[in-house]
C-alpha cells in the first residue's frame, strides 16, 4: 500500500488510496496492471488448484458422499441410507476402541517422546565427542520409510525366531509365548515402542534446531549469575524453545491420530483388534470388506476428530505463540 502511495506526487491518505483502487477496478479499459496481474495469479495458482481439486477436494467430497450410501465399491451408488453408516460406525466397538488406541498413542507420545526427545536434544546440544554420529543415529529411523521400518521390526519381533526373542532367551528371560506383537496386552505398547524409535528423531531434530536459536549470550549471562548447567537448561533454554515444542506436539498429535502404515505392517490391527486405529478400521472396512459406505463414514469421523483436535490445540495452546506478547 505504501508502495502504491509513493507513486503519486503527494502521498495520499488511506481512504484516497482505497477509492482510487476502486476507481481503477471499474475503469472501462484498464491499461495498467490490474487484470493482467489477476491473470498472472490465476495462471500461477490454477495448476496447483486443479491438482488440489482433483487429488484432494474431489476424493474428500466423494468420501463424504459415499458415507450416506450403502455401496460395495462397484455398480451405481443408489442405496441412500442417510446417517445409518455413522450409527453403525459409532456403535461398532472396534471403531470406538480404535479411537481410544489413537488417543492412547497421542497421550503416550507427549508423555514419553517429549521428555525423551528433549533430553536427547539437550545432550546432543552440548559439545561432546561423536556428536555428529549420535545425531545421525537418532535421526536415521525418521528418514527410513515407515513401511520398511515396519517390515524390519516385524522380523526382529518374530516370536521364537526373531532377534529380540533370541537375545532375551540367551540372557535367560522368557519372551511372551505369542510374541510381543501377538500378545493382546503387549501389542499396543510394543507398537508404541517402535513408533517412538521411528519418530524420536524428528523431535530431537526440531528441538536441536530450536536450541540452536537460543543466543549464546543468554547462557553466558546465566553462567555469570552462577546458574548450573541444569538450571540454565530448565530456566533459559527450554522456555525459549517453547514454540518449537508446541509445534512438535501439534505434528505429533495429528500424526498419531492418522497412524496407519506402521500398524498395518506390524499387526494389521490385531491381535484381537488391540491395535486398530481409525485409519486401519476404515481401510479394513473399505478395501478389505467392500463396505465403502461405512469406510466413508469412518473417514469423515476421523477427519472431524482430527480437525476438532487441531483447532482446539490451535486455540488453546498455539495461540500464545502467534499473539504478540511482551
Amino acid at each position: 500500500m505504501t508502495h502504491e502511495g509513493a507513486t503519486g506526487p503527494v502521498a495520499p491518505t488511506l481512504t484516497e488510496v482505497v477509492t482510487r483502487r476502486d476507481e481503477r477496478r471499474v475503469a472501462p479499459r484498464p491499461v495498467g496492471t490490474g487484470w493482467r496481474q489477476r491473470l498472472e495469479i490465476v495462471m500461477f495458482v490454477s495448476p496447483a488448484l486443479a491438482l488440489m481439486a482433483v487429488f484432494i477436494l474431489w476424493p474428500v467430497l466423494s468420501a463424504v458422499r459415499m458415507s450416506f450410501y450403502r455401496w460395495k465399491g462397484f455398480g451405481p451408488m443408489d442405496q441412500w441410507v442417510g446417517l445409518n453408516n455413522y450409527r453403525l460406525v459409532l456403535q461398532d466397538e472396534v471403531f470406538t476402541d480404535a479411537v481410544m488406541h489413537n488417543f492412547t498413542i497421542v497421550v503416550l507420545s507427549i508423555l514419553i517422546q517429549l521428555p525423551l526427545g528433549l533430553g536427547l536434544a539437550l545432550l546432543l546440544n552440548r559439545r561432546i565427542r561423536g556428536r555428529g554420529l549420535l545425531r545421525t543415529i537418532v535421526f536415521v529411523p525418521y528418514v527410513v520409510a515407515e513401511v520398511i521400518a515396519g517390515v524390519i521390526w516385524f522380523q526382529l519381533l518374530q516370536p521364537q525366531y526373531g532377534v529380540v526373542d533370541t537375545v532375551l532367551t540367551n540372557i535367560g528371560l522368557t519372551p511372551p509365548e505369542q510374541g510381543f506383537l501377538g500378545t493382546p496386552d503387549l501389542a499396543l505398547p510394543t507398537v508404541f515402542v517402535v513408533l517412538t524409535w521411528k519418530y524420536l528423531g524428528l523431535a530431537v531434530l526440531l528441538f536441536l534446531a530450536g536450541l540452536q536459536g537460543v543466543p549464546d549470550e543468554l547462557y553466558e549471562a546465566a553462567q555469570l549469575d552462577g546458574a548450573s548447567w541444569w538450571q540454565t537448561q530448565r530456566r533459559v533454554a527450554i522456555p525459549l524453545i517453547g514454540p518449537t515444542i508446541r509445534t512438535w506436539a501439534f505434528l505429533s498429535i495429528i500424526g498419531s491420530l492418522q497412524q496407519f502404515d506402521m500398524i498395518w505392517v506390524l499387526t494389521h490391527g490385531g491381535p484381537a483388534n488391540r491395535t486398530t486405529t481409525m485409519a486401519t478400521y476404515l481401510v479394513e472396512q473399505g478395501t478389505e470388506r467392500g463396505n465403502y459406505g461405512i469406510a466413508g463414514a469412518a473417514s469423515v469421523l476421523l477427519f472431524v476428530i482430527a480437525f476438532v483436535t487441531a483447532v482446539a490445540y490451535q486455540l488453546i495452546v498455539l495461540r500464545r505463540d502467534t499473539k504478540v506478547d511482551r
Binding site: 510374541g179 499387526t267 483388534n273
Partner: protein, 431 residues
C-alpha cells in the same frame, strides 16, 4: 487474447498428438491380422513359467483357428490383478475375460450388471463340469466356468510324522489330537496357522461347521443367511477343543499365511512345523519360500480334514474353492468361445500337466503329475459336495465379520456363540 489462441493451439497440438499416437497403436494392432479385428482382453494371474508361456500358446492356437480375433493378454501377480480388478469394477472398465472366485462376490457383480450370463452359450461345458459349477451360479444362471477347483486339507511333513511315530494320517478329530500330542512329545511344533491373516484360522471353523452341520442346513444358511442352527455353535466349540491342545506355532496370532520364511507356509516348508491346513496352492507357495525352490519336495503329504464324533455333516464333504473364467457384460461372443476353449479337454490337460492347478474337466484328472495333488484331487472328486469357502460364499462383508470373530475365538477373546452372533449381525445388515 494472445494467450488464449496460444492455448488453443496447444490443445490442438495435444489432440493431434493423441490422434497420431492412437493411430500408431491402431496400425500396430491391425498389422497382425489385417482382418475385421475383434480384440479380446484377458487378465490372468499365471505370471510365472510355465503357466505364462502356456497361456500365450493357448491364445495363439485360438487366434489361428479364429481369423480376425486378437487376444490381448495381461498376466500379472495375483495381488496386482485383484486390486486392478477392484478398481475396474468401480469404474466399469473390466477386461472381456477375467477371474471370478464365485459366491457372494459374484452375486454382487451380477447384481451390478457387470457379468455376462453364459448359461446357454456354454451349456455343454457347464454340464461337463458338473456340480462344481454351483459356486458360480446365481439364481440358477451360470456366470463363469471354474477351471481350477481345489479343496482344503492338511499338508504335512512325512518325515516329521515318522519321527514322532505317527504311522497313519489321522482320520478323526481324536486321532488328530493324538498326533499333536505325539509331535509335541517329540519336540516338534505340530501345526502352523496364519491367524494374522484371519482366513487360515477361519478355515478351521468352516470345516468344523461342515462336519457339524448337515448339507441342507449349510446350503440353507448360504441362501437365507440364517445361522440359528445349533450346529454353528458346536463348530466353535470344536475349534476351542483344537485350541485346547495348544497345537499351533508360537505367535500364530500374528503369523501371516504365506509371506516369508516365518509365515505359516514358510514354517512348514522349512521343517519348523509338522503340518498346516491350507488350500491346494500350498506346494507352489512352499516352493517359492525355499531357497532350492522345492518346498517340502518328496516329504510332502496330504490328508483331508478329520471327521468329528457325532457329526451331522457328511464326513467326505470338502471345503474348497477355485477360480473361474468369467466374461464381462458387453464382451464379444468370441470371448465366450475362448472361455469354452479354455475348458476344453486339450487345454485342461495341458493346464494339469504344467501343474497350474486342479482341472475341473474330468478328462484332465489323470494328467495331474504331483502325487500329493493327485491324492487331493481324488478326495475332491469323491466328495458329495465341495463347499465354497464361507467368506467367499457369503461375500466380503459377512465373510469379513465372520473371519474377524473367528480370529478373536483363536485369541481366546470370543465364545462360539459370539462367532454366530457377529456373523448373523453382519448378515442382517445385508438384507
Amino acid at each position: 487474447m494472445r494467450s488464449k489462441t496460444r492455448r488453443a493451439a496447444l490443445a490442438a497440438l495435444c489432440a493431434g498428438a493423441l490422434t497420431l499416437s492412437a493411430a500408431a497403436c491402431g496400425s500396430d494392432d491391425d498389422s497382425s491380422e489385417g482382418g475385421s479385428g475383434t480384440t479380446i482382453t484377458w487378465w490372468h494371474n499365471s505370471n510365472n513359467e510355465p503357466g505364462m508361456g502356456y497361456y500365450e500358446q493357448v491364445a495363439k492356437d485360438f487366434e489361428a483357428d479364429h481369423p480376425g480375433v486378437d487376444i490381448e493378454i495381461s498376466a500379472m501377480a495375483h495381488e496386482d490383478m485383484v486390486s486392478k480388478l477392484a478398481a475396474g469394477f468401480q469404474s466399469g472398465d473390466i477386461p472381456d475375460i477375467y477371474m471370478e472366485r464365485g459366491g457372494g462376490e459374484l452375486a454382487d457383480h451380477v447384481e451390478a450388471g457387470l457379468v455376462r450370463d453364459i448359461s446357454d452359450d456354454a451349456s455343454e461345458e457347464i454340464e461337463k463340469i458338473g456340480g462344481s459349477v454351483a459356486g458360480w451360479q446365481v439364481d440358477g444362471q451360470t456366470y463363469a466356468l471354474p477351471f481350477s477347483l481345489g479343496v482344503v486339507g492338511f499338508w504335512y511333513n512325512t518325515e516329521l510324522f515318522e519321527e514322532a511315530g505317527i504311522t497313519a494320517p489321522p482320520t478323526t478329530l481324536d486321532e488328530l489330537g493324538d498326533a499333536v500330542t505325539k509331535l509335541k512329545d517329540a519336540g516338534i511344533d505340530p501345526i502352523s496357522v496364519g491367524a494374522g491373516d484371519k482366513w487360515p484360522a477361519a478355515h478351521y471353523w468352516y470345516y468344523t461347521a461342515m462336519r457339524e452341520c448337515s448339507q441342507d442346513v449349510l446350503s440353507d444358511a448360504v441362501t437365507s443367511l440364517d445361522f440359528s442352527d445349533p450346529c454353528f455353535e458346536k463348530a466353535g466349540e470344536d475349534v476351542e477343543t483344537i485350541l485346547g491342545w495348544e497345537p499351533f506355532n508360537p505367535g500364530f496370532l500374528t503369523t501371516p499365511a504365506q509371506e516369508g520364511a516365518t509365515s505359516a507356509s514358510g514354517l512348514l516348508a522349512t521343517g519348523k512345523v509338522a503340518m498346516e491346513m491350507q488350500g491346494h496352492w500350498e506346494p507352489g507357495v512352499m516352493q517359492g519360500l525355499t531357497d532350492d525352490g522345492k518346498g517340502l519336495g518328496d516329504k510332502t503329504g496330504w490328508f483331508p480334514f478329520p471327521s468329528i464324533d457325532g457329526q451331522s455333516g457328511d464326513p467326505a464333504a470338502a471345503l474348497g474353492g477355485g477360480d473361474a473364467w468369467a466374461v464381462s457384460d458387453g464382451a464379444p461372443d468370441e470371448a465366450v468361445d475362448f472361455v469354452k476353449y479354455l475348458l476344453s479337454d486339450d487345454v485342461q490337460i495341458g493346464f494339469a500337466e504344467n501343474s497350474m492347478g486342479l482341472p475341473t474337466n474330468s478328462a484332465a484328472s489323470g494328467s495331474v503329475a504331483d502325487p500329493a495333488l493327485a491324492g487331493l484331487l481324488e478326495v475332491r472328486d469323491a466328495a458329495p459336495y465341495v463347499q465354497l469357502y464361507f467368506d467367499t460364499a457369503f461375500g466380503t462383508s459377512v465373510g469379513g465379520a465372520m473371519n474377524d470373530e473367528i480370529a478373536l475365538l483363536f485369541a481366546g477373546e470370543a465364545s462360539p456363540q459370539d462367532v454366530v452372533d457377529a456373523t448373523q449381525a453382519a448378515a442382517d445388515q445385508e438384507s
